[in-house]
């Protein structure tokens, strides 16, 4: 399974909020990165399903805070396959 993340991030990075952080302009499509959105962050080798906590404007750019959600990305893929039908 090839994984293309919604936003590049080092999931080891945590700031004073305790959340993972990255820059909004590292998103493939910044319009999907809004508070409350469930997206995939990290990189193809180390992806994680995350919730967008907030977006904070800093002088270096807009910083996105992310909460890593439970489970493996394959769990979420299996959930979608199991619960969504074509109808």
């Amino acid at each position: 399974m090839t994984i293309i993340v919604d936003i590049a991030a080092d999931l080891n990075d945590e700031d004073e909020t305790g959340f993972v952080w990255t820059f909004l302009d590292e998103a493939r499509d910044p319009s999907v990165v809004v508070p409350g959105a469930i997206i995939v962050a990290g990189d193809a080798d180390a992806p994680a399903v995350v919730e967008v906590v907030d977006i904070v404007s800093k002088s270096a750019g807009q910083v996105v805070h992310l909460r890593i959600l439970p489970g493996d990305i394959e769990d979420y893929a299996a959930l979608v396959r199991r619960t969504l039908s074509a109808s």
């Binding site: 080092d10 999931l11 990075d13 945590e14 990189d43 180390a46 489970g71 493996d72 394959e74």
Partner: protein, 139 residues
């Protein structure tokens, strides 16, 4: 303009050489350069450029800052982790800065040159399987 990180540096005794360092991976030279560039974009240290990447140190034998809990909790989404120690990091010429919440540290490089990135990669060592990865724990 990056933010000054000094106010987020903890005042604590630096760990001894045997202290285990954990970083989620796998890291490549390219990834380390990218992550260091992101840190550099976001932060200054005492008004100077900061190049570094985030790691977690096993500062306690038990609890949230133990190696086991770091691997099981903070590293749960990582199939591959880098396990090294303070001695190896220091021997590679990489600095250690206790930043933000314990047990997080920033590994500091002098700059973002290929030589510095390579030294960081040597300090982190090869990746290994995380025995506490969330998929492994399901059996």
């Amino acid at each position: 303009m990056p933010d000054e990180i000094r106010s987020h540096v903890r005042d604590e005794v630096l760990p001894d050489d045997a202290t285990v360092i954990v970083r989620g991976g796998p890291d490549s030279l390219e990834k380390l350069a990218q992550h260091a560039a992101r840190t550099n974009r976001a932060f200054l240290l005492d008004g100077h450029q900061l190049w570094g990447v985030s790691v977690f140190l096993a500062l306690d034998d038990a609890g949230s800052a133990s190696a086991e809990r770091i691997l099981a909790d903070r590293m749960r989404t990582y199939r591959i982790v880098h396990l090294t120690n303070v001695a190896q990091v220091r021997a590679s010429g990489i600095g250690l800065l206790p930043t933000f919440a314990r047990p997080r540290y920033t590994l500091l490089m002098r700059d973002a040159s290929a030589r510095s990135i390579s030294a960081l990669a040597v300090a982190l060592g090869p990746g290994s399987t995380n025995p506490y990865h969330v998929a492994k724990r399901r059996g």
